[in-house]
């Protein structure tokens, strides 16, 4: 095996217990193997229930894998202890979908961003403050953000703050779990641009999870398509999303309504139904 990259997932299997004792467990991930290199974005695309968030959560240690290995810089972190997690938290961070739930409403932004530095790194108050202000600047938020509560910010601003929280620990890898799905189109563009800038500047690796093929194509170097917990297709972003090999990926790509269909049609005319053939 060649030198492992930033993150390597081998034959990952995650089961969720059934609701009742007799139910078979649900397979949320089934033999998933993925790899991310430094400064690379791997897009993970799939519909609800495909297990894409589960894979992210397994990397973050939020769900326990039933089988398989997760290697970070070649080191097995599949079953990291709490202590190891604390160290790993300085390398792997996360940005979640819901900018409302991802910030504690009863703590100031300064407290939320600073607590990891103080508790995990043991920095003093002043250094923490300088560090947090610096990170906030990087995500385009003013320094007085620190003394405010999440309720004072809009969804897009909260997502910037959530990104700042991830960056405070100076990670190498950020799991982006649907980071723009809760945002409006114009704000989504701002956040995507910010993520691209940060990657270019800091050399971050992204595991970019989304249900939106267009967003994934825009953000990713490589893309993996998930269906019922399995990777059905994996490869360079343009190739997978424009000329898919797998039947399911084709269905998925075809199902996305495209604006350019209408633009090609004569004005006033009814748009052609590009999905007509998919009816069967």
């Amino acid at each position: 095996m060649t030198a492992s990259g930033l993150l390597e997932i081998q034959d990952l299997r995650v089961e969720f217990a059934g609701r009742r004792r007799h139910d078979a467990g649900v397979l949320a991930a089934d033999g998933v193997s993925l790899r991310i290199d430094d400064a690379e974005t791997l897009g993970l695309v799939g519909e609800s229930g495909s297990g894409k968030s589960t894979i992210g959560n397994a990397v973050l240690g939020l769900v326990k894998p039933a089988a398989g290995r997760i290697l970070f810089r070649g080191q097995d972190v599949t079953h990291a202890t709490t202590r190891e997690r604390r160290r790993l938290g300085q390398h792997i961070q996360v940005v979640f979908q819901d900018p409302y739930s991802s910030l504690n409403p009863s703590r100031t932004i300064g407290q939320t961003l600073g607590e990891q530095l103080r508790l995990v790194r043991g920095l003093d108050r002043r250094t923490t403050r300088i560090h947090v202000e610096n990170v906030l600047r990087q995500v385009g938020m003013p320094a007085d953000t620190m003394s405010r509560y999440p309720a004072e910010f809009s969804g897009g601003q909260r997502q910037r703050i959530a990104i700042a929280r991830a960056l405070v620990m100076e990670p190498d890898l950020v799991i982006c779990d649907e980071p723009t799905s809760a945002l409006d189109l114009s704000v989504q563009a701002q956040i995507l641009n910010l993520l691209l800038d940060l990657q270019a500047r800091l050399g971050l690796g992204y595991l970019f999870i989304s249900h939106d093929i267009d967003v994934v194509r825009h953000m990713s170097h490589r893309v993996a398509v998930l269906l019922h917990g399995r990777v059905v297709e994996q490869g360079p972003a343009e190739g997978v999303t424009r000329h898919p090999d797998h039947e399911y990926t084709r269905t998925l790509v075809a199902a996305v309504p495209s604006v350019d269909v209408a633009a090609e049609a004569p004005p006033n005319g009814r748009a052609p139904h590009r999905n007509e053939q998919g009816e069967a």
Binding site: G49, R85, F96, P99, E115, E152, G156, N193, V261, A263
Partner: protein
């Protein structure tokens, strides 16, 4: 795991404005200070503090010794010497009341303290750690809740020789399970919050997470319940004293004073009043204090801080111009529609001066981001504005009926048979306690009547027409047994029951997976072709508009800013907002490169500028944009609310 549904759109009213840029510092004030702004809370608190102080300094404050007999002035009633009168032994009622508070308040405090400690500790642990702790907890709560509490208290009282402290602690324990359940519920909710996951990812210690993240979220409910329970405990304490338990006479207690009063009820009923009222007011104060705490903490943690917008007083948009004449060829013709909704600072116009036409059989898109007024417009068309919402001016002409002036009964007869609705959350838009079939039946019966069999036959026909594979089995199922796609098909069948001319589809596919979305859109198109029904499709998704709509209206901050045939608009938008939105679509950008984005966010209605609403975010804005901008017709069939629309064309060709 849920892939779709943007947060803002998933909310019940998708047009709730997202937060403005920076908010004033109102919500930063500590909870207790905001509590003191509520008069009822202040009065309650003052009364309770007064009671406590009086009890603590009873020896100084009380005008008489509570045990002093004055047999010459027995049962005197209120007088100058005895403000609250005297009891059957001539003892001063006021003094006895003040001393009585000592026992009662301490007892209440013991009960409340036990209650909080037991409830918080068990609820927090069970909720946060889950697993076997939670199973043991649930079982224990089930057991304790079924114990007949008061009787057990009596047992405890006998066992411990009338020791009220033990009895009150027992009361706290016996009452704690309900409270512990609340704490567990809140904790469970907080545990699933993403900020807890983020804290775990960073490796923060569990103790820190519990104390700093979970506990503060639980404090609100804790204070509320503790306050209410303190009040209830005072009542139980007095009740037990009334039954003859606890501190024995001659030591004064409130309950004891009531029993003494009861014995002379026919001679001096007044004696019932002082202890009863003192006690009731104390309990009332605790209850009101609890309510106030609940309201204040809801204010603080609310997603949209209600106070935040208070600074901008209610303001209404520019006076709407007189509405133009409706288009006689249109099925639906809206002119000058202005809708106001209540906000924390009064009311604000959230939809202003909207003109909109839908011709028979046509599919028209209404596009925009959340907070732009799309869904409110749809609600206004159907006469279903949320409470306090009002159509201020404008006409909504549906065929020969003006819906803005139509009476309730006319409106009801129009709904379903002329205009119908499908909405965003398919499963939530069906009643969970009736089967899919029963719900379609109801609307079929309403619109067509007929025998049971005829109605059911028509229902099955409708369910078949929405391409449900096994209509009979779907008809028997409850909403929670349906997938999102199936539920949306059932909802469409309900909407079709009255054979409407116009279907308002409010984000019908936003909550669905993209493959299911494609099926639903195809279904809508084919139904429309079969029936010649018009569709007004409200969406934020340009792809959906491009796929199914012939014409589209773009809304921004309450205004229609552009309308045009879809293909033409996508090819060459004539408003900078439409242009900006189209350019910020990831599907149209160069992968890995910056998307053209619009700076800032949609402002809240109270912050809309007097002139062009988009000006503050617009790259083309000049001082011309400070005055109200009317819709103009730069090209045939196209309308734009921009004075610089020609620069967009130049920009595109240059």
């Amino acid at each position: 795991m849920t892939a779709v549904a943007s947060q803002d759109l998933a909310a019940p009213s998708s047009d709730e404005p997202p937060g403005g840029n920076s908010r004033p510092a109102v919500s930063r004030t500590p909870t207790w200070r905001r509590l003191l702004r509520r008069p009822l809370a202040v009065i309650s608190l003052a009364y309770l503090v007064l009671l406590v102080l009086a009890a603590v300094f009873a020896d100084v404050v009380a005008p008489y010794d509570p045990a002093d007999l004055d047999l010459d002035h027995v049962l005197s009633g209120p007088s100058a010497g005895h403000l609250l009168g005297t009891d059957p032994l001539g003892r001063d009622v006021l003094s006895r009341l003040i001393h009585g508070g000592q026992v009662s308040l301490v007892n209440g405090g013991v009960a409340a303290l036990t209650f909080v400690m037991v409830g918080v500790a068990t609820g927090l642990v069970a909720g946060f750690f889950g697993g076997w702790t939670d199973r043991v907890f649930t079982w224990a709560v089930d057991v304790v809740i079924a114990i007949p509490g008061l009787i057990v208290l009596l047992v405890v009282l006998t066992v411990f020789g009338g020791n009220m402290t033990v009895a009150m602690a027992a009361l706290g324990i016996l009452s704690a399970p309900g409270f512990a359940r609340v704490v567990r519920g809140v904790t469970l909710g907080v545990r699933q919050e993403l900020y807890i996951s983020a804290a775990k990812v960073s490796g923060l210690p569990t103790r820190h997470i519990l104390l700093r993240h979970v506990l503060p979220r639980v404090t609100g409910p804790i204070l509320v319940q503790a306050s209410l329970f303190f009040g209830a405990a005072l009542l139980v304490d007095a009740g037990l004293a009334y039954l003859g338990f606890g501190v024995q006479p001659p030591t004064p207690t409130w309950g004891g004073m009531i029993i003494e009063a009861a014995s002379v009820i026919s001679q001096q009923p007044w004696l019932l009043v002082p202890p009863g009222i003192t006690l009731a007011l104390a309990t009332l104060s605790f209850a009101l204090l609890g309510d106030a705490i609940r309201d204040t903490s809801a204010e603080r943690t609310g997603r949209q801080s209600g106070n935040a917008r208070r600074r901008s007083a209610a303001r209404r948009a520019e006076l709407p111009r007189p509405a133009g004449a409706p288009d006689p060829a249109a099925l639906l013709s809206v002119r000058g529609l202005t809708v106001s909704l209540p906000t924390s600072g009064g009311t604000a116009d959230v939809v202003a001066d909207v003109d909109l036409d839908v011709r028979p059989g046509e599919t028209v898109g209404l596009v925009g981001e959340s907070g732009c007024g799309k869904s409110i417009t749809a609600s206004a068309l159907l006469g279903l504005l949320p409470a306090g919402g009002e159509i201020r001016t404008g006409r909504v002409q549906l065929g020969d009926v003006d819906l803005t002036t139509a009476g309730k009964s006319l409106l009801r007869s129009v709904r379903g048979s002329r205009i119908a609705l499908i909405s965003q959350e398919p499963v939530a838009s069906l009643d969970p306690v009736f089967t899919a079939g029963q719900q379609v039946d109801e609307l079929v019966r309403r619109h067509h009547g007929g025998s049971r069999q005829a109605v059911r036959a028509r229902t099955l026909e409708l369910l078949t027409s929405v391409r449900l594979r096994d209509p009979e089995s779907v008809a028997r199922r409850y909403p929670h047994e349906l997938s999102g796609g199936m539920a949306q098909r059932v909802a469409i069948a309900m909407a079709l029951a009255g054979e409407p001319d116009l279907l308002v589809a409010d984000e019908p596919t936003t909550a669905l997976d993209v493959t299911v979305q494609a099926e639903i859109l195809r279904l809508l198109q084919s139904i429309q072709a079969e029936r010649g029904m018009a569709v007004l499709l409200i969406t934020h998704d340009w792809g959906v508009v491009a796929q199914v709509c012939q014409r589209a209206y773009v809304m921004y901050a309450g205004h229609v800013v552009e309308s045009a045939p879809v293909a033409a608009m996508i090819d060459q938008p004539l408003h900078p907002y439409s242009a900006g939105l189209l350019a910020s679509m990831p599907g149209r950008g160069r992968p890995g490169h910056h998307l053209a984005s619009i700076p800032g966010t949609v402002p809240a209605p109270a912050d809309w500028p007097a002139g062009c609403h988009f000006a503050p975010r617009c790259a083309l804005a000049t001082e011309d944009c400070a005055a109200p901008v009317p819709l103009s017709e730069p090209a045939p069939g196209r309308l734009s609310r921009c004075v610089h629309h020609d620069r967009l064309i130049e920009g595109a060709t240059a």
